[in-house]
């Protein structure tokens, strides 16, 4: 099993180099952002928005937090593209080799999931370091709030990773793009259906042209800051279900992993 994980990590070597550059870029950009939000042009723009657009201090903070969330998502999103392993395995015809190794389907699937966890671990670790640095430089957001955002982002990407693995196993080699599209579609549809009333309200407020939609952003930010455990538990459930479904698929289609 360890051997397959090593092979998977070897497959992601190029991705890791790109990841290192992205992390460096994210760090520089986010430091520039928080410094500007505190002392520079962004601070001036915020001040103007507060006086001219009737935005409150909390709204401004939330908008800045939203920008930082995007920075935080990048490193985790980078490491969550497990489809690269499937693509490379398919191209090499590694399925034929792996199905003749002295490893059960269970262990082969487990190896893939553990690789994904390692990658997420790296993403979360890097995000924690970045958020620690940022929290020291700004009063927009504390390290505790950052932590909530990181866990939320990691949970969301875990849900995506869990779905994409199942769909990659199900569709087989060469159909990784379909797996990505279907996974995001499942996440978006589920999220929209779970919040159908709020979605209707957002559309209505946008149509009416009022600024109430900002409240939903605030609500969203508060959710991922303070209720990250909800997403975390959902991700554990989805990951567990995904693992068992993947094992069943791998037992049936034995050369799939």
């Amino acid at each position: 099993m360890k051997g397959l994980m090593i092979k998977d990590l070897m497959c992601l070597r190029k991705q890791m180099i790109l990841f290192a550059y992205t992390v460096a870029g994210v760090l520089v950009l986010s430091v520039m952002f928080v410094l500007s939000a505190r002392f520079g042009n962004i601070a001036d723009a915020n001040q103007t928005m507060m006086t001219e657009n009737n935005l409150s201090d909390i709204d401004i903070k939330n908008l800045s937090t939203l920008s930082l969330i995007l920075f935080m998502l990048l490193p985790i999103a980078m490491v969550s593209d497990v489809t690269a392993i499937f693509r490379m395995d398919g191209k090499a015809g590694f399925g034929a080799v792996s199905s003749t190794l002295p490893l059960s389907a269970n262990k082969r699937v487990m190896a893939r999931y553990l690789t994904v966890f390692i990658m997420f671990g790296i993403g979360v670790g890097v995000d924690i370091v970045i958020s620690f640095v940022l929290s020291r430089l700004t009063n927009i957001i504390s390290f505790a709030d950052f932590f909530g955002i990181i866990i939320s982002a990691a949970s969301l990407m875990c849900i995506y990773g869990a779905l994409v693995i199942v769909f990659c196993f199900l569709f087989g080699y060469g159909k990784e793009d379909y797996a990505i599209v279907v996974s995001w579609a499942v996440i978006l549809i589920t999220a929209m259906l779970a919040n159908i009333k709020k979605v209707k309200l957002i559309f209505a407020s946008v149509k009416a042209g009022d600024s109430d939609s900002l409240d939903f952003f605030s609500e969203f930010i508060n959710f991922i800051k303070y209720k990250y455990f909800v997403l975390f538990f959902i991700s554990i459930i989805v990951m567990t279900a995904s693992y068992f479904v993947s094992v069943k698929i791998a037992e049936k289609k034995r050369s799939v992993v």
Binding site: G3, K7, M10
Partner: protein, 290 residues
Amino acid sequence: MNVIEIKNVTKDYGDFKLENISFEVPEGSVCGFIGQNGAGKTTTIKLILDVINADTGEIFVFGQNTKNDSASLRENIGVVFDEMGFHEFMTGKDINIMMKNIYKNWDEKAFFDFLKRFSLPAKKPCGSFSRGMRMKLQIAVALSHNAKLLVMDEPTSGLDPIVRNEMLQIFREYVLEEDHTILLSSHITGDLEKLADEVVFINGGKIVLAGNKDDIMEKHGLLKCKKDKLKDIRESFIVHAQPGTYGVEVLVNDRKECVRLYPGMVIEQASLEDIMLFYVSNRCKCAGHI
């Protein structure tokens, strides 16, 4: 003892069916698994390796039903496919790191010795290897975990005669140890004539012949005669007849008896290729005679 035992195995894909196949591979032997492309060789190998499920029947490897614990059985099986299967960026060193963390009996020293012997660079990505080098790399992997059984699917196809000969030599050395067995699928019958002790001939998903190679070759004969003499030959001896250079060529299934009964006719020993070609033609024509 039989290392592989296949009993009444059926696998139906709809457009292709393995029909009730049964054969054995004795320990210490080289078994040539012959048949034309699409005859069912790879499907049978996949069944033996438990990569696919049989619809009916049982398969035993080292006396154990593959359904019980095929993963641990594979610890003692080295597998070589006609395509490499390793990622092109992987070097010999990478493969060693991967395999030593998979096989309990992985012999690092043996692996690097094989790479050296095959003149394979350990630090070069295998994507840059030629077809012959890729096959050798697979063989190095298959031989480096003390496998007792080597299962190979068309390992020599597409290789030049020198590399093929080199590989046959490696297989010969491998079976010098008494408990080492090879199942070698190929449609290059010349290689099997040189190497195999046993032969299993599959055609259209059915086992046509199985047994000791020398017995099979001894038993079959290639009878050459004028077309009008064909009617004199007892029908039960004829596997198939087809036009030849001087009349007709007939594959007979009892050479000794034919020599005794038809002393005026030329009857040569049939090669494995002749046997394969005539049996395949017989199935295609069904009529048996010209």
